[in-house]
């Protein structure tokens, strides 16, 4: 029996407590209780409980993977998973004890002991390195007093208030119910259940390491698919609703929740599918790579055709509610593609992108509104104003770019952030009130009319967004692979050297800002037409940050990445209402994780290959000559 190495037991301890802190934190901000509202599988597990299980499971997996790499035996690996599970539950258990009436004295005691323990620990350290005795005693007293003031006042607060809710409002009865797995009354039973479940999840995570790769991949795939379908039950039901008859639907879902039997079936099917893919996926890819170029192009073409078909049919496949979400995603894709010209291609960190969005929206609103502020009733239609909004946004982009041309990096970001705020203030100001309505905004914006049909539904508006996005995509691909795109990239990489290459950097940067602004204007105009009203508080700095985040998460300068980023950051919070309260918390967490683990984004941008293409052409030419 081999022993645990010191660094291994340390990693068990740190990672276990880290995942414990994660569980406690998500509970304390109210995420667990809020997620509990959504059942993943009917009567089996809720999203909140899933969170409680996933943390020890994932941590157990990571820890065991490390252990196995250092050659630890299976029994020890499983027990380390159990240990991780218990450690994960530990902070929550302590909080549960503090929260109950019987054991609150523990909190009191802890708070009062903290200063003494901390001071003694510090003094012990000082003693060990052989400090002066007077210094040791002095620092002991100082720490006791300093920490004591804070610690004792907290103790006092809890004594007066009698519960934790005054300080931690989300440590509520709902939270207790979730973390004790519905044993809020019998605290000890609840704690035991929590420890047991968490340890089990940790052990399951470790077990996954011991399973051979192919079944493991299949199992994780099956589990992932089932849980995702369960979590997005409402979305899945909305999609099925369009295509499946009511009775079948009832058998699969109870309201928005996946029933148990279909869940089990889904798990089996997706596991088998995952197994087949794990077994033969490699071969399939190999086979595809070995195909002749012409055949491969054909397969690619068919794939593209299917994809295009799905894009075209999307509103009929997913129904009204989800089409609405799709339109919102599309508007952000549009903005993401636009901002990417400035940030991704030219490296200009523009934090005031909302400016262009607001300009586009207000131009459309004022020119087409049939309400009191629209003095041009019916003269201008949506289609006539779209180019106007585009040009107006380009003008705004140009005007705001001129003063910041000499700024770089952080300074540019701060200056553009300021411009974004200025636009918000202008929109709400009394000065412009006669024109754009101040805080009341502009109302009664008519829907676009297409050959006599009013495009009133999201299913119809979807096509406007789709076309606009495709046009933008086309333009940005063309630009990326052109002289202009290379000028921008050179400026992004090293502005001084770019100048030394003969690039007029001022001109190139102005162009980047201006073109980047254009799609923001179109997105704003579409948004205004979709909503029908335009308010100043729709145009906050959060729009700019959303767009920036989706670019970073998806992959800077990567067009598919931007689409994925928009779906993840804009679509998911719309689909899971529980998420939306924690949207910015999750943005922050996601950005931090991405920056550490995958700074290039979900789908990194690809390099345009010039030599390889030339080589292929040369081979083709040689073949033709023969």
């Amino acid at each position: 029996m081999n022993m645990l190495r010191a660094e291994n037991s340390r990693s068990i301890l740190t990672l276990g407590l880290l995942s414990g802190a994660f569980i406690l934190f998500t509970g304390a901000v109210g995420m667990i209780a809020a997620f509990h509202e959504r059942e993943v599988v009917d009567d089996v597990i809720s999203l909140g409980q899933l969170l409680l299980l996933l943390a020890p499971f994932a941590t157990g997996f990571v820890v065991s993977d490390r252990l196995r790499a250092s050659g630890t035996g299976s029994l020890l690996i499983i027990s380390s998973g159990v240990a991780v599970g218990l450690l994960t539950a530990l902070p929550t258990v302590i909080m549960l004890l503090f929260n109950s009436d019987e054991y609150r004295f523990l909190l009191d005691l802890t708070l009062k002991l903290i200063p003494f323990v901390a001071a003694t620990y510090y003094a012990w350290q000082q003693y060990r390195i052989g400090s002066d005795q007077r210094l040791i005693i002095g620092s002991w007293l100082a720490i006791v007093v300093l920490i004591g003031i804070v610690s004792f006042s907290f103790a006092l607060i809890f004594e007066i208030k009698g519960d934790l809710r005054s300080v931690l409002p989300n440590i509520s009865r709902d939270w207790v119910e979730v973390v004790t797995f519905d044993h809020p009354k019998e605290l000890m039973t609840g704690i035991a259940t929590l420890l047991l479940v968490s340890a089990g999840a940790g052990a399951a995570g470790s077990f996954m390491v011991l399973v051979p790769p192919i079944p493991r991949q299949a199992l994780l795939y099956g589990l992932g698919v089932t849980l995702l379908v369960g979590a997005f039950g409402e979305t899945v039901r909305l999609i099925l609703q369009e295509n499946v008859d009511r009775d079948t639907l009832k058998q699969i879902f109870r309201r928005d929740t996946l029933r148990q039997d279909p869940a089990l079936m889904l798990f089996i099917v997706s596991t088998v599918a995952g197994f087949l893919w794990a077994m033969f996926g490699q071969q399939a890819r190999q086979g595809f790579a070995n195909l002749e170029p012409s055949r491969r192009r054909m397969v690619n073409g068919v794939g593209l055709l299917i994809f295009a078909g799905i894009l075209l049919m999307l509103p009929w496949l997913i129904g009204r509610t989800l089409s609405d979400v799709a339109v919102t995603i599309g508007i952000f894709v549009l903005m993401g593609l636009g901002l990417n010209i400035a940030i991704g291609l030219a490296g200009l960190l523009d934090l005031g992108y909302v400016t262009n969005y607001a300009v586009g929206a207000y131009i459309l609103a004022v020119l087409t509104s049939i309400g009191p502020l629209g003095r041009l009733d019916g003269v201008f239609t949506f289609w006539m104003v779209i180019p106007v909004a585009l040009l107006a946004a380009m003008c705004a982009g140009f005007v705001f770019a001129v003063p910041v041309l000499r700024m770089r990096g952080d300074y540019l970001a701060i200056a553009t952030l300021g411009f974004g705020e200025i636009i918000g203030k202008l929109a709400i100001s009394d000065w412009l009130k006669p024109l754009i309505g101040g805080a009341q905004g502009v109302q009664a914006i008519p829907k676009p009319v297409f050959f006599g049909t009013e495009l009133r539904n999201p299913e119809q508006l979807y096509y406007i967004v789709l076309v606009a996005s495709l046009v933008t995509l086309f333009v940005s691909i063309r630009l990326n692979n052109s002289r202009t795109g290379r000028q921008w990239m050179a400026i992004r990489e090293d502005e001084d050297v770019a100048t030394a290459m003969g690039i007029d950097t001022a001109r190139a940067k102005l162009l980047a800002f201006t073109l980047s602004a254009a799609t923001g204007g179109v997105a704003g105009a579409i948004f205004a037409a979709k909503v029908g009203t335009v308010f100043p508080n729709s145009f906050t700095v959060f729009i700019s940050i959303n767009v920036l985040s989706l670019i970073i998460v998806g992959g800077i300068a990567s067009n598919p990445g931007i689409v994925v980023g928009a779906v993840v950051l804009i679509g998911l919070p719309e689909l899971l209402r529980e998420f939306s309260d924690f949207r910015f918390l999750m943005y922050g967490a996601l950005l931090v994780i991405m920056m550490i683990k995958r700074p290039q984004g979900f789908i990194p941008s690809k390099l345009v290959s010039h030599e390889i293409r030339a080589g292929v052409n040369a081979k083709a030419a040689a073949a033709a000559a023969n």
Binding site: R478, R486, Q487, M489, D496, T499, M501, G502, H610
Partner: protein
């Protein structure tokens, strides 16, 4: 490169391609370049040498417009270039490399060279979006010429690598290739053999000679390796504390007491003089 090749291989001396009169550059009190008069003969391989901090790189930065000079004037091909921006100076026919290699790191090698051709490109963003034939044609020509230049600097087959992933020697070569892409009349190389082993140094020296002989470009280099300097230079300017202390042929420089003093101190100068 064929179009630039001169018929008789080595170009004739056509006078002074670059000339400065009374050039002065100050950094808040510190005089980095002090009332400097110098010239570079057309078609020559010229070197600027001098001890550390003598103002050599500042001198390059003044010529290429990175710094604006405080006094004096700089003439290139008889036309004043001081007061112009770096991109205008590059367009007039001077290009340079940097002491610490400054490539566009996240662009491929071939893209670096394509950017280098900037002064000769005419296509616009509108042309790129619409896919006009003229733009496509120019892009194809740019790519073709970039591939030729890659071959010329010995980087064939490495064009699709990110320039930051190239080896040190390849990066130096790529930087020269990028500088050549603008079809300059004068190229300024800032320590082209820094950090190279003896074999690479010899290769680079040969390469610089080829540049002048085959392509007909006037070359000015800053260099610390005296063997390189004495081997290939036809004209040497020695700077110390921002002033010119000597100028002329390598043989004359080697025995110049002021130069020896600047490099080795007064005692050495006296010893060699005695």
């Amino acid at each position: 490169m064929a179009n630039e090749k001169q018929a008789n291989g080595r170009p004739k001396d056509q006078g002074r391609i670059l000339e400065a009169k009374g050039m002065t550059k100050r950094f808040s009190g510190l005089v980095a370049v002090d009332n400097l008069d110098f010239y570079i003969p057309a078609g020559a391989i010229a070197s600027i040498i001098g001890p550390n901090g003598a103002g050599k790189t500042t001198f390059f930065n003044c010529i290429t417009g990175f710094y604006q000079i405080d006094e004096g004037e700089i003439l290139f091909d008889g036309a004043r270039i001081n007061g112009k921006t770096p991109d205008q100076i590059t367009r007039s026919g001077i290009s340079r490399t940097f002491q610490n290699i400054r490539l566009f790191n996240n662009m491929s090698a071939i893209e670096n060279i394509m950017v280098g051709q900037e002064p000769h490109l005419r296509s616009t963003w509108i042309g790129a979006i619409l896919g006009l034939p003229s733009t496509r044609g120019e892009d194809a020509r740019t790519e073709e010429r970039a591939r030729e230049l890659l071959r010329f600097v010995g980087l064939e087959g490495k064009g699709d690598m990110l320039s930051k992933n190239l080896s040190y020697g390849d990066q130096r070569r790529l930087e020269i290739g990028r500088a050549l892409a603008s079809k300059p009349k004068l190229i300024l190389l800032d320590e082209p053999t820094a950090g190279m082993n003896p074999r690479e140094t010899i290769e680079t020296t040969d390469f610089i000679r080829r540049l002048r002989d085959e392509v007909g470009i006037t070359v000015v280099l800053i260099e610390h390796d005296m063997r390189v300097v004495m081997d290939i230079s036809e004209h040497i300017t020695v700077l110390d504390y921002g002033r010119k202390i000597a100028e002329g042929l390598p043989a004359a420089i080697q025995t110049n007491p002021d130069v020896i003093e600047a490099y080795l101190g007064r005692g050495a100068a006296q010893a060699s003089g005695a």
